[in-house]
Amino acid sequence: MGLLSKKDAALIKDPLFDNNPITIQVLGICSALAITAELKASIVMSISVMFVLGLGNVVISLMRNIIPSKIRIIVQLIVVATLVIIVDLVLKAFAYELSKTLSVFVGLIITNCIIMGRFEAFALGNGPWRSFLDGIGNSVGYGVILIIVGFFRELLGSGTLLGFKVLGDPIEKTGLYAIGYENNGFMLLSPMALIVVGIIIWIQRTKNKSLIEEH
C-alpha cells in the first residue's frame, strides 16, 4: 500500500464501521430508507452518492480558501446541485425505469446531510486528495448499510435478489415455496426499513460497547 499512508487509509476504513455515517453519525438517513425495498435501487443510490460526495469534496476543498464563510452554505448547495443534476440526467438516459423508482430521491441527494456534513467537517479544512479519500470512505460506509438493508428487505419481502428468484417461484411453488414458505410483504413497506436499521444499530453496539449512548 505505497499509495496510501496509514493516516490516509484510516480515512477510508473508519467510516466503514466505527464511525459509520448512518449508524453512528446519524447522517443521510433521509434518502437511505425510502429506496431500500430493492437491492438494485440501493446499489445505484450508493454509487450516485459516491460520485457526488467524492467529486464534491474535491471541488469544495479546492475552493476552500476563496469561499467567504458567510455564504458558504449556498456555494456548497450549488456545487452539490450541479453534480446531482449530472447524476439525474445520466440515470434518466441509461436507466429510465430505475430513475422512475428512485423518483425524487435522486434530487434529495442535494439535502442528504451526509454531503453537507462532510463538506463542513472535512473538505473545508483539508487538501483535495485527503478530501477525496474521506468522501469515498464515507459514501462506502453509507452504501454498506444501504446494501445490507436492501438485501434483507428484497430477500424477505419478495424472495428475489436483483430481480432473480433465489428462493424459487412463489406461483409454481418451487424451491422454498414448495414446503410452505411465504413472502413477508410487510418487509416492502416503509416502516420495516426503520426497524431493520434499528436492528443493525443494535447488533453493531452489542459488538462494540464503546458506542453505547447514555440516553
Binding site: C30, A32, I73, I74, L108, M192
Partner: protein, 240 residues
Amino acid sequence: MEHIELFFKSIFIDNMVFATFLGMCSYLAVSKKVSTAVGLGAAVIFVLAVTVPLNWLLDQYILKEGALVWLGPEYAEYDLSFLSFIMFIATIATMVQLVEIIVEKFSPSLYNSLGIFLPLIAVNCAILGGSLFMQSREIPSLGLALTYGVGSGIGWFLAILAIAAIREKIRYSAVPPALRGLGITFIITGLMAIGFMSFGGMLTGGDEKKEEKSKVEAQVEKEEVKKEAKEIVAQNTTIN
C-alpha cells in the same frame, strides 16, 4: 373540498416522516426535548408554507415544458425542468436567509425562539422534498400548493412532537443498553409509521367514483391492513 382533502392527506396519509422519511436527520437530532422540537417544527411549517408556493410559481412560469410561452410564442418549446434542483435549492436557501433577516428585524422574540433553527432548515430534506413532491405530483393551483406546504409542515411537526414526547418518557424505562438512544428511536419511529398507515383508507370512504375505480386495489389494501393489524397486535404483545 379539494383543499380539505389535500390538507388531511398531506398530514396523515403522506406524512413526510412516516411515509417518505423526509427530514429524518433533524428529526432524530433535535427530538431529545419537547421544547426544541416544537421550535423546529414551527420553523418547518413556516418555511414550507413560504417555499412550496414560491417554487410552484417558478415551476409553472419558468421551468416546466412550455412554461416560457408568456414571453412569446417562439419560447413555447423550451423545457428547463433539468434546472429545477438548482433553482429550488437556491430559492430555499435565499428564502431561509431572508426570513431570518426579516424575523430578526420585526419580531426579536420570535427570532429568539425560531432563529437558531432557521439555518438548520436550509439543508432539511423535508423542505426540498416538499417542493420536489409538489412538482412530481403536479399540484394544479397556487392555493393548493400553499395547502400542501402547510399540511406537510404540520405533519412533520406532529411527528417530531410525538417522538420528542416519547423520548422524554422513555428515559425512565429499562431499554437494553445497546439499543439506547438511536436504536430505540428508530424502532419506535417504525412502530409509529405502522400506526400512521392505518390512516390510509381515511379519504376513500364515501367517494363512489373512486371506489369503483379501485375496487381491486381496495381489496388488496384491506387484506394488507388486516395483516398489519395482526403485526401490530403481535408487536404489542411482545412489548408487554
